[in-house]
Structure formats: C-alpha cells, structure tokens
C-alpha cells in the first residue's frame, strides 16, 4: 500500500505524483516532499545505521540538524554521501541509498559492533590496538580504515560545475521564519538593500510546520504573502535554498546556494551550487531554535523523533509519523504535537510529561510527573516503557515517540568569531552572548524570543537596530496578531538509567555512559569532553546533542551548566561540498594561464610546454623522428651554439623605472652600483634581501638618464615589484622615482649564437648600426625594425653566446617570431625552449633560482665583491655578518663526473673522498645539473665549502635516498667559453 501514512492538508502538491527509489525499492511522493517526509509517508521508518554500533536508526528531525537519516544521494559520478534526507527536495526519478551498512539496512552484518559495545566505548582506540605492535600496520589499521568513515565516494570526477559570486547589501537577514520575515519587511520597506537568505526551499521557518495563525491567515499563508511582497521590492533579494555557512570578519558572510540540487541534472553550463561571498554592512541572525531530545535508554529507535519534527511532518508534509504516537516532554510546547496530530486523526497513546504541574486535557491522556525509561522495537519502535509519578510502570503501544526536551536558540553564527553564548535559566538554554561579531544583531528564537509574536517583534527591533547603525530610518511596521505563549520549561536532561544505553549524540554514537566515563577518566573540561567522547564532532556539530552532554557533565562535576561552558561552533554551519569551495578553479582552470606572445606559433610547431608559475613556456621543440626529449634539447643547444637560436623570454619580469632619482633608487635595491651606468648600457644587478641573502638577479638597461628597464627572473617578478614599491613608498618616500610593470607590454625574444647579429641585421632597420663597435656587449637602445616598428634591443647573453634580446609591443610578438624564423632560415635558425636555455646557462655557469635558493649570499655565488661598501643598499650591512663570511663558506663551483658516462643528480650532496657520510661531514650540494651536448658528458653547478680553493679536487657525490654514489671533480663553473670571447664577438 503506497503512502499509507499520508494524511490531509500540508504544503505538498498531491495533484502531481513523483517516483523515487530508496535502497532499490520504488516509492511515490509529491512535489513539496523531502526524501524523509516521502519515506515516512510510505511507512519507511528505518533509514540508516549508526556510525559506530550500526544500530538501526530513523529520522530524528525535519531539518538540517538531522543526525541519522544520512543517505547517498544519486548514483554514478554525481553520488553524494552523507546527505540529509530531511533536506533533500524530492524530484521525479530521485535515487538514494542508505549507508554505513554491510549487507542490507535490515540485515547489517556490522551490527555485531552493537554487541561489542562494552569494548567500543568512548576513547576505546586509546586503549586498544596497541599490542602486539607489529599487528598495527598489517592488521589493525587496514581493518579500522575499512570500518571507519561515514558514507562512500564514487571516486569519479565530479561532473558538475560550481560558481562563486559576490554580493553587497546594507542588511543581510539570515533565516526567513517569523523573525526574519518581519525583519526583512522592516528593512525592505525602508529602502535599504536587503538580502534574505534561508536554507529551506520554502521560506517561513516554523510557520510552515505549526498551526498558529498570524492575523487572519494561517502562519504559512502569512509567510507566503510576505515573501510575495518582499519579492516585489527591487531593493530586496530573496535567496531560498541558500545556507549562510559562516560569519567571517567585518560583515563578510559565506553562503551556499543550491541552484540545482532539486532537479535530476542541471542544464548544460548551469552550476549545481554557488558559493556567495556576501559583504554586509549589518546582519540580523534569525536562525531560529532547534529542539533538543531527552536522554533515556534506547531513545534512538526508528520512530523516535523530536516532537517539533512530528508536527512538521504532520502539518507541512501531511504525514503521520505513525498511526499511534506518544509524546515525552518537559515543557508546554511538546503538547502541541499531541494536539496537532490528534486533530489529524492520529491516535495519541499518551503525553508523558516530567513536570508535576503538567497541563491536562480531554482529548488524550497526560501522564504527569512521569518519564519514559526504555523502548522496544529494534527495527522500528513498538512500545515505550513509562515510570509514573508514583513509581509504578506502564507500557505504551506506539510506533512513533516525539521528544521535547526544550529548545536551543541557534547560536552558531554568533560563535564563529569566538563568541560564547550565555546561560538563561528561564529558558534552560544558552542564548547569544554580548560579544557578537561586528555588525551582527540576533532576533527571534535565536535570541530566546520563542513565541511567534515575540519572534516577529524581535525581528522588527533587530532590523531597526541594523538600520540605525547604518544611518537609515525605519518605517513603522505594524505587526498582525500572533500567539505569545510562554514555553514553561522545567529543565530535565536525562532519565537516570539502569543497564541500557541512553543516546546523546546519535551521529557519533555517544551515550550518557560515555560522558560519565569521560568524567571518571579525568576528561572533565567541556573541550576534553568533546574530544574524548567525540560528542558534537560529527557533521551536525552536535546541534541536537551538545546541550545534553554539557548538562550531564555539569551534574557529575557538581557545577552549574554555565560554569561548564560551551565549545565553539565553527563554519560551515552545515556540511559543504569541496566542489563549491573550489568553484571554477579545477583541473586546467585551477589557476589562470599566461601565454607568451609566440605561444600560438610554438603550438603550431608542436612544442612541448612546461608550467612556470602561471606561464606556459615552450620546453623544447621536437622535430620529426625525435622520440626522446634529450634528442630535441641536445640538438637545440648544438644548433644555437653553432649558428643561431631564438627563444621567447617575455616571461621574465620587466619593471620600468623612471624619474630624476631612478639611478639612486637602483643603487638602493641592487647591491652593486648603478649611478655611473652610461645611457645606452645594460648592467647585471644582484638584489639582496635585507638579511644579506640573495633575492633575485637580472639586468638594468639605461634607456635614458632618467629611464631604466629592470629585469627580474620569471618566478620572482611579482615579489621583486612588491619589494621595489616597498622601498619606494616606505623607505625613501621622497625619492623622485616611478615604477610600473611592463612584463606583458613587450614581447621579448633572445636571439643567440655566432650568426645572431647577421640574422638581426636583416630585421633591424638600416639606420641602426648594430655592429660590434656600434653596439658592443651590454649595449641597449630604442630602435625600429621591419620598416619602422618601434623596438628595443639589448645585447645581453644568458647562453654565453653572442646574443641579443629584442623587444616589440606584444601585439607584434607573434609576427616577429615568424619573421625571425623566416629571415633566419638561411642560418638554420632553431627555436629553443627552456630546457636548452637551462643547459646553456649551466654550461656557462650562470646562477638562477636553483642557486639563489633563499639561503645563499653574494659571497656564496662568487659575487662577494659586487656588494658595494660605498653606498647604502638593501642587505649590505647584514651581509657582512661573521657567520656569513667564514673561511669555509660555501662557494659556487662547477662539478663534473670523473667517469664521463655517469650523471650528476641535482640535490645530491658532496662529501670528502674518505670519511663518514653524514650531515656533520657535509661539504656541499649540487644545485643544477644537465647533460652537456657540447662537452659530451654530464655537468653540474653546486656549492662546496671553501670551493674557491678546491678546483681539481676529487670528491664523493652521494644521494643516500636514491642510493647513488659517484666520484666527481670540482672544476670551474664556466664550462663553455670561459674567457667570454663569444660574448664579445
């Protein structure tokens, strides 16, 4: 019989029927249902198995605080574990499966854990799995890994897309129940820009679940009408299906909007969810309150739920939790569940009220001063055992039991910035404390104003306060009549139990006994209680369990509840998909790609690319027949050194430095001197950190008296620019110097090799003489090429060959590369990539980031004398520290293998030929290594203690982790053309 628990009314659309599947079985429901309400409607009470003991569990709540009914939603790559059945909007074709069971939900083989409960109490893992030690890795850990965890992943790539967005508002209202709606009306009508966010797909909060009236309308109808008015206001943005997940600094809130979780599959290009960063001037938290259960033996059976959830299922979803229900309460509110269900024709076995002065009525029995002490029905509640005021016992027949232990104001948001709530005796609950995040007000049940009238009035006050804080005037909002009944709670946390277990945290399977054990073992502070028992550490952050645990610990420790204190709630408020936190930054789009001006051309050539930070650079250009990268790289090196090669070097940072004090500024940032650099000349510059360690190197080209172009390494471009602005603005604010990055404004190509000049002479316009006499090594200047295009030419060489770098405005970079290849054809010009570039600079002994590794000084690099003592520069004073200038300081050297067939791995360490191989005897390390096609063997650069005096010495190169040991010889770092003749040709 389908939907046997359906009753009349509710906010579902019975004119449409939806089909869904749970654990392989088909059921029907209606639009407006959640998965939980539809399952209950179909008489399905068993929805999951608990985490540790695999106890059969049903739904406890009707909202996002649900600890038990966690399902795997959808199948295939879109499968999502640990999804609360209570918040899943039903749609046609929905597929869900229960989780955490071996076998079926009904016959779970891991239920054996429940019988081993004496061994699996809180903290058991601190006391077990210890002996024998050898068993840990091979036996215990694999078993624990298999059993641990809740839910499973599909292990397939998430095919959905997620957006990130940014919103601004005057007032953010969190929660659209009576308080939130009243606040939104007040703020919206005053003209402020308002965002009203609610996690539910239907705004209204508890108004949708209760039978209160507001004015002449039902609570639900008033909510709908209010939402319609708000929707008509252009300054109000309604965001349903949107959970505000965290309160961050200075009015910034994070919110996850579920754009398409309520349809089978999102349309093409549409996001499943969006992460919004909301910048608010003020925020009013109207997050409501969450009902709390009562602790008693076997209070976790399927069918036992919160009394308010019972009302929600009956009133909003037209579902009777069972044909026959009972209620267990310590306050007036619990009675409403009996009244509402009775009105719908459900049989009320009894209301069990702990209070001696409980209200009675004529419709159903009220057991005054009584307690539920146990229940029966393993796969679904059948009976509840009650102890009456006079000590006698009675058994109630019921398939559902609604618990009401009182209400906890939902103070999560107020604690996200380390605020602690304060105890309120009248409510027997914690309410928001005084130290709220900046700009935050709390209203409604979240603030302890539990009645409908109280919540609405509180919402208006909260909105007015928010408006006042930002200098806006609120129009008076007249509120319709609503109920204003007090809750009349008498604090009652748990029934003193006998042998059985009473559950507190149902998701992490923590019992009252565990709290007692924690106390007994000395873990008595609230923070220890949490971590020792794991109470409150599940995905629900203890929303329905923290309070019970605190109260019991207070009793055991002989303290008041406020004295025990609370732990801190942290974002996200409810579990959040990693995908939505990533947004679009996944896979190839993890970070933006920077393409060089010749990228498209290089791609046409079939270049292999490498990521250098965000840049894509051609690494080598394989030619037909080449199957291994060494073939390509060796060829590029040989060809360049033999004739001419071209390489895109646009990625190196270029910083434009101008102003009357430009040269003086360069003197400050470089350790060597620039004041006397002539116009039309370039100079190598070494930048130190203030602590004397080398930071970056590059060149500075003096284009004019007051104009330099400074280059940096690719990797450090951003950092060097930042540093230069620091020096300019913070250290020397009156220097007349202006900086701007021009890295991307100019396409720049290195043209290197004996025929480089001849090639360039075919491109540079004839009025510019670039002969060796007119344009010597290190010259620079503005020129024109190809019939008048403005360009810059720098005669600098990284490869050690006769070389130039030619720059044109970026738009022409592609054309220039093609022209260079065309004009260079007669010289067999080759394009070369970063690998060949690297080989050539190692052959030449040029330092790069491998050598400027954050621990090396100018002295280590062999540039000690470059640090001028005659001027002030960043790092010069601290570079003189004794410890950096000892006799045996590391010095850069060249390294070659004694046996020419052996490689010289980078990162290997250098030891003396004899003696121990350990850190104490370490002599240095290899920084850069490659195969030199020019020399025919491997070479390397590295640092060796006192390396300046050790040329010719043989040493041991060791790499213990990779079990390499080779004999090497210390040589000059300048392997090719050590005299620099090619450079100056």
């Amino acid at each position: 019989m389908t939907q046997q628990n359906r009753i009349s009314g509710g906010q579902i659309d019975t004119s449409q029927t939806l089909k869904f599947t749970f654990d392989g079985k088909q059921y029907t429901g209606h639009p407006g249902d959640t998965l939980a309400s539809a399952l209950l409607a179909n008489g399905v009470r068993l929805m999951g198995r608990s985490f540790k003991y695999h106890r059969p569990r049903g739904v406890l709540s009707a909202g996002s605080e649900e600890p038990n009914a966690l399902v795997e939603l959808r199948g295939g790559a879109r499968q999502e574990p640990n999804t609360r059945a209570t918040t899943v909007e039903l749609y046609n074709g929905l597929l869900a499966n229960s989780q955490n069971r071996l076998g079926s939900l009904k016959f779970d083989l891991l239920a054996i854990n429940d019988r081993l409960s004496n061994f699996l109490t809180a903290g058991f893992y601190y006391k077990t799995f210890m002996w024998p030690a050898a068993f840990w890795e091979k036996l215990y850990e694999p078993i624990i890994r298999k059993a641990a965890g809740l839910g499973s992943l599909s292990l397939k790539e998430d095919p959905d897309v997620y957006d990130k967005g940014f919103l601004h508002c005057d007032v953010l209202i969190i929660g659209a129940g009576p308080a939130g709606l009243a606040a939104a009306l007040t703020a919206g009508r005053s003209g402020a820009s308002v965002i009203l966010a609610d996690e539910d797909f239907r705004m209204g909060g508890r108004l949708n679940s209760e039978t209160f009236t507001i004015g002449d309308a039902s609570g639900a109808d008033w909510a709908a009408a209010t939402v319609a008015e708000l929707a008509s206001l252009p300054n109000v943005r309604l965001m349903s299906r949107t959970t505000v997940i965290g309160a961050f600094d200075h009015g910034i809130y994070g919110a996850v909007e579920r754009n398409n979780d309520h349809v089978a599959t999102p349309d093409e290009g549409k996001p499943r969810q969006t992460l919004w960063r909301i910048y608010s001037k003020q925020a009013v938290v109207c997050a409501g309150a969450l009902e709390r259960p009562i602790g008693f033996e076997n209070n976790d059976r399927p069918g036992i739920m919160l009394a308010s959830a019972m009302r929600s299922y009956a009133n909003r979803w037209a579902v009777a939790a069972d044909k026959r229900v009972a209620i267990f309460t310590n306050n007036d509110d619990g009675h409403r569940a009996a009244a509402d269900l009775h009105a719908k024709g459900v049989k009320i076995s009894a209301v069990v009220d702990t209070r001696a002065d409980a209200p009675r009525n004529n419709d159903y029995e009220v057991l005054v001063g009584a307690q539920v002490i146990d229940t029966k029905g393993r796969l679904g509640l059948t009976f509840a055992d009650v102890r009456l005021a006079d000590g006698s016992e009675r058994t109630l027949e019921c398939g559902a039991l609604g618990m009401s232990g009182g209400w906890n104001p939902n103070v999560h948001m107020t604690c996200h910035q380390r605020g602690r709530p304060v105890w309120n005796d009248d409510l027997a609950a914690f309410v928001p404390g005084a130290d709220l995040p900046a700009g935050m007000t709390v209203a409604g049940a979240a603030n302890g104003d539990f009645s409908t009238a109280g919540a609405m009035a509180s919402g208006v006050i909260g909105a007015k306060s928010a408006l006042k804080a930002i200098g806006l005037k609120a129009k008076t909002t007249k509120l319709p009549q609503a109920e204003d009944a007090p809750i009349n709670i008498s604090a009652f946390w748990y029934v003193k139990e006998g042998k059985g277990r009473a559950w507190l945290d149902q998701q992490n399977d923590v019992t009252v006994k565990d709290v007692k054990l924690s106390h007994q073992e000395g873990f008595r502070s609230v923070e220890h209680l949490k971590r020792y028992t794991t109470l409150g550490m599940a995905t629900d952050q203890g929303k329905t369990s923290n309070m019970g645990g605190l109260a019991i610990m207070a009793e055991l420790a002989g303290k008041t509840i406020p004295e025990v204190g609370t732990t801190i709630f942290r974002p996200p408020y409810t579990p959040t998909a990693i995908g939505v936190l990533a947004g679009r930054a996944r896979g190839q789009e993890f970070h933006p790609k920077r393409l060089t001006p010749s990228h498209h051309w290089a791609k046409e050539q079939g270049a292999v690319f490498v990521e250098v930070g965000n840049w894509l650079r051609a690494q080598w250009f394989p030619q037909k027949g080449e199957t291994h990268w060494r073939q390509s790289v060796d060829r590029e090196v040989i060809a360049t050194r033999k004739s001419v090669g071209v390489c895109d070097v646009t990625t190196l940072g270029k910083i434009d430095v101008q102003g009357a004090d430009a040269a003086e500024f360069l003197n400050k940032i470089y350790c060597n001197g620039f004041a006397k650099l002539a116009v039309g000349k370039t100079r190598y510059g070494l930048m130190l950190r203030e602590d004397g360690i080398a930071m970056d190197d590059g060149t500075a080209a003096r284009m004019a008296e007051d104009h330099f172009v400074v280059t940096t390494t690719t990797a450090n471009a951003l950092g060097v620019y930042r540093h230069m602005e620091f020096v300019r603005q913070c250290l020397f604010p009156d220097m007349d110097v202006q900086l701007i990055s021009t890295t991307e404004a100019w396409a720049q190509f290195a043209v290197a090799g004996p025929n480089s000049r001849r090639l360039l002479q075919k491109i540079v316009d004839p009025e510019y003489d670039i002969s060796n006499e007119a344009f010597p090594f290190m010259a620079c200047g503005n020129i024109t090429i190809c019939g008048g295009l403005r360009a810059r030419l720098f005669r600098i060489s990284f490869s050690g060959e006769l070389a130039y770098e030619i720059a044109v405005p970026t738009r022409y970079g592609d054309a220039l590369m093609r022209r260079i290849m065309e004009e260079g054809a007669e010289f067999d010009v080759v394009p070369y990539g970063t690998e060949a570039l690297g080989v050539m600079r190692i052959e030449k002994g040029h330092a790069t980031g491998n050598e400027l590794n954050g621990t090396t000084t100018a002295l280590n690099l062999g540039m000690g004398r470059m640090v001028s003592k005659k001027k002030d520069s960043i790092g010069s004073i601290l570079s003189e520290r004794e410890g950096l200038n000892t006799d045996d300081v590391l010095m850069q050297v060249g390294i070659k293998p004694v046996d020419p067939s052996k490689p010289v791995p980078a990162g290997a360490h250098l030891m003396n030929l004899t003696g121990p191989v350990d850190a104490d005897h370490d002599q240095g390390y290899v920084t850069s290594a490659c195969y030199s096609p020019i020399l025919g063997h491997h070479i390397a650069l590295g640092f060796v203690k006192g390396g300046g005096n050790r040329k010719g010495e043989k040493m041991r190169l060791v790499s213990p982790l990779t079990k390499v040991e080779t004999e090497i010889e210390i040589v000059s770092a300048h392997f090719v053309d050590p005299e620099g003749e090619r450079l100056r040709a």
Binding site: K270, W615, T742, T743, R811
Partner: protein, 187 residues
Amino acid sequence: MHSLSPITALGGQTPKITTIGSINVSEIDSLALASIATRKGGKTVTEKVLKSMIGSVPAVGKTCSKGSFSGFWMGPDQWMITAPLETHETIADDLVAAVVSKASVTEQTGAWAIFDISGAAMPDVCERLCAVPIREMNVGDVCRTSIHQLGCFVTPMNSGNTLRVVGPRASARSLYHAIEVAAKSVA
C-alpha cells in the same frame, strides 16, 4: 609603414565576438593604452596634459573622456590613458613629448586585453566574476579588482548596459573563459 601584422589578445586576426543567451561578449582590439605618473614638481604639467587630452584629471576611482580619448585613475599620481589605436598607436610617444620629463610615461597597449560584456544580465555576470559592487557603480566609475586571480579594471559603459573589463593580456584566454562560463551560468 612596417611589415609586421599584429594579432589580438586572444590570438586571432580579428577580435572575437560571442553571444551567450542575451549577453554579448566582445573582444576590443581598437585601443592604445599608456600610463602616466607625475614626477616630483610635475603636478602642474601633468594635470595640464590630462585636461587637454581627456578633459579633466580623473579623481580616485573615476574615469574621464574627451572625444575618443579617455583615462582613469590607477594609483596615487598615476593614470591610464586610452586612445584610438588606429590613429594613435604611438600615444605613449605623444605623451612623452607633451610632459617634457615632468611625468613618467610607458606604453601599455601590449599589456592588456579588453572585453566588453553587454546585456541586461550584465550585473548578474559581474557578480559571478568579481567583488565590485556593480549595482552601485555608474558610468564614470572604475574599479580595480580581481577576476579569477587576475588583476583587472572594470568600468560600466553605454548608460550602464555594458561592463568593460581590462585584464592582463597574457591571460586573455583564461579571462575570456571566466567571462564565458559566468555568462552561461546566468544566460
């Protein structure tokens, strides 16, 4: 006239124009850009040059224009000028001549890619790209912001129907892709 042909930021011979639903995304390849920063003692001259070229000195967060020239504030004593590329490709040289060493000028054309996003849903697209309060911005406002880790300038144009995005040229494809997927989300 030199013999090298330029390509657009996206690498095409002509600028790319796409329509996604009611949203139009156009690559703009018709502007030359130059930066100008006042030197010590150069305030008067710089302001004179700016007024002459773009009508006035743009205040913080503002742009001004005069005819087909416009400019916007970039930082303390620093502005960006835009001019028609076809007729003023060497605008930087013109500025250098005009400021006679009283300001520092650089050619910036090659460093930037420009995309115009138009359509009624432009603010929805913008909200998915960057943190600027787009619904509070008017024509004449400019904001430097971050779009998917790229530093960009954004400025409303055409009576607020269009958003001009000026971003780093080397990342033009990534920037264009970010705009495209945001447009698809809201289209």
